[in-house]
């Protein structure tokens, strides 16, 4: 990209004239946009960093900084995350739901993606249509419907951990399908066909050729499923059976509406760091698997593909 030098004005122009100057030169650096974008990034991230900072506050205040302390993580004998049973349970419950969700939703979603991409017979259109719906259904509609199905039809499943796991899997499957199917389309059919020409049965072609090629998408979808499960508030809350099945987001929600202590910030920080670690790990594994097929603009294309719902 060539940058055209901006004409140097002799007299100091007004702010308006300078703004016009930026707009006039479409191939130069639009400085207003630079400032605007970085301001947006600061606005979106700094509040969270301040919340993290106050999780290390030595006093009970979340607004006035005193000094650094790990009191709200384990130091405080009553209200720290480690010693307050409701906070500790919430953390365990969140990890339990996210773990079970990854273990079940990822295999189900991978199979569904493979099936939907290769099956063109009767019923495939309807199945595809049903698969897309959970992505655009507001969580409250899904929460109400799952609550009512567990209280009126599948009454063997009471509200509580099992219902929460079933709910989380239900909203996660479609994300796995979208990610894996994107990868399936970008791989194309030629590898499978080559394997078939060399005498491999569909099952062998699948396990020896297609699955290794799908690994990056499987890893990425596992990280995404963990993140959306750990983030979920509505489904967990509607299917919760009270204190012992509250997750971290439910605790944050309840505490924020009452009078929260910095321990709320602490539990939120722990959850955030865990999610970011898992997502980073997923990203590194994904890079490792795709390192041979690197080309410019690949990542941005993948993002574009993932959002191409229609």
């Amino acid at each position: 990209m060539t940058t055209v030098a901006e004409p140097r004005p002799t007299a100091r122009p007004s702010a308006f004239a300078r703004t016009r100057g930026w707009l006039r030169n479409p191939w130069g650096k639009p400085r207003f946009l630079v400032v605007f974008t970085w301001a947006y990034i600061l606005w979106s991230i700094v509040p969270v960093l301040i919340a993290v900072q106050f999780s290390f506050n030595a006093t009970r205040s979340r607004t006035v900084w005193d000094s650094f302390s790990t009191r709200w993580y384990w130091g405080d004998p009553v209200d720290s995350v480690w010693h307050d049973p409701s906070l500790r349970h919430a953390l365990v419950q969140s990890f339990k739901l996210a773990g079970a969700d990854v273990l079940i939703a990822v295999p189900l979603g991978v199979l569904l993606a493979l099936g939907l991409a290769r099956w063109h017979g009767r019923g495939s259109g309807t199945s595809n249509f049903i698969m897309l719906f959970p992505l655009v259904t507001p969580e409250i509609v899904m929460g109400v419907s799952l609550l009512l199905v567990f209280t009126h039809i599948f009454t063997l499943v009471h509200t509580g951990t099992l219902a929460q796991i079933l709910g989380h899997i239900t909203f996660s499957i479609s994300f796995v399908v979208v990610i894996v199917r994107g990868r399936l389309f970008s791989i194309g059919r030629q590898y499978e066909e080559a394997a078939a020409d060399l005498g491999a049965s569909p099952i062998v072609a699948l396990t020896r050729v297609l699955l290794p090629l799908l690994m990056p998408a499987i890893v990425a979808s596992a990280a995404v499923v963990f993140a959306i499960s750990a983030d979920d508030f509505v489904i967990s809350a509607w299917l919760s059976s009270g204190g012992s099945t509250d997750t971290v987001p439910i605790q944050i929600y309840a505490a924020t509406r009452a009078a929260p202590l910095p321990s709320t910030n602490a539990i939120a920080t722990i959850m955030m760091v865990s999610t970011l670690l898992i997502v980073t790990l997923g990203f590194l594994v994904w890079r490792f698997f795709t390192s041979g097929e690197r080309r410019a603009g690949k990542a941005t294309e993948d993002i574009g593909g993932a959002f191409n719902l229609t």
């Binding site: 479409p26 974008t37 301040i50 409250i140 199905v149 993002i303």
Partner: protein
């Protein structure tokens, strides 16, 4: 023979799961909403046979939402909040996505990561962050008093509509920026150069080339954030918890978790879902049209 059943067999468990836990649950909402209520226990009595459905509760809910009904204000407020938030999200998000796609250069990767970062941070954590900042003696009030914008602390969290809209924008904007970025990033630079060579001013090149070509991203992002915003109840609860800022989602929440009549909550859920389906069909039609228009430009 097994080859014929291989792929449908792969899809079967997932499809069965979604039928049992997505389609059947929706039918459960219909059954409860169109059912009756036990006169003594006030418990909903669902009716599963569509021929016996009772539309009484549904018409009751529609009457409440109609002009003059007790939920009319809530309905209007929900639409106004969502529309305002969408407009603000676009106003803030478009320049950011535009800069990242077009001008970020070697910073593109880093900026992209920083833009995606909030998506991995729990929504509740991000709301908690602002609740801390907006306290009476929080950083926001202290900053505004330090700069003499305010002479005394403002009660941001006591039922202020602007705080709710602000929180909605803060919460949902990352979901809008990504599809916007994806559509802007796909635009071929040569289209713009052609427009400029043919004498278009930068502004008219933006208006006549970039903007129409990014329309699919605008619409896609709008779907992605407006549908969940219409069902949101936790954001207004966290940053205001006042009936003055309550949205449709809050009414549904109240009828299940506070009020005695889940039947009304279920009927309201049906009305909301029907409204959102119409909205989505409208969006899909617009996206389809925009895509066809983009196809025409691409063919040139």
């Amino acid at each position: 023979m097994y080859r014929r059943w291989l792929w449908p067999g792969f899809a079967f468990p997932g499809v069965l799961w979604l039928v049992l836990l997505f389609v059947v649950p929706f039918y459960a909402v219909l059954g409860v909403a169109l059912g009756t209520v036990d006169p003594i226990l006030f418990q909903p009595v669902p009716i599963w046979n569509p021929l016996e459905w009772n539309v009484g509760w549904l018409t009751e809910v529609i009457n409440r939402l109609a002009p003059g009904g007790i939920w009319f204000d809530v309905g209007i407020r929900t639409v106004v909040y969502v529309a305002l938030s969408l407009a603000l999200c676009l106003l803030i998000g478009y320049p950011v996505a535009y800069y990242t796609a077009r001008h970020a250069g070697r910073w593109k990767g880093l900026i992209l990561i920083l833009i995606i970062l909030p998506l991995w941070i729990s929504y509740m954590m991000r709301m908690l962050a602002w609740v801390n900042l907006l306290q009476a003696n929080g950083y926001v009030n202290r900053f505004l008093m330090f700069t003499h914008v305010l002479s005394q602390p403002r009660d941001w969290l006591g039922g202020s509509a602007s705080t709710v809209v602000f929180a909605l924008v803060y919460g949902y904007i990352p979901y809008l920026i990504l599809p916007l970025f994806a559509s802007l990033d796909r635009i071929d630079r040569s289209h713009l150069e052609a427009a400029r060579d043919l004498g278009a001013s930068p502004w008219s090149a933006f208006r006549n080339v970039t903007l129409p070509l990014s329309k699919t991203g605008i619409l896609g992002g709008a779907v992605l954030i407006t549908l969940p915003m219409f069902g949101d109840y936790y954001t207004p609860n966290i940053v205001s918890s006042s009936p003055r800022t309550s949205m449709i989602g809050n009414q549904i929440d109240l009828y299940f978790h506070g009020g005695p009549q889940p039947t009304i909550g279920a009927a309201l859920t049906i009305v909301l879902a029907a409204f959102l389906t119409l909205l989505m069909l409208y969006y899909m039609r617009s996206i389809h049209r925009a895509q066809r228009a983009v196809g025409a430009v691409g063919a040139l």
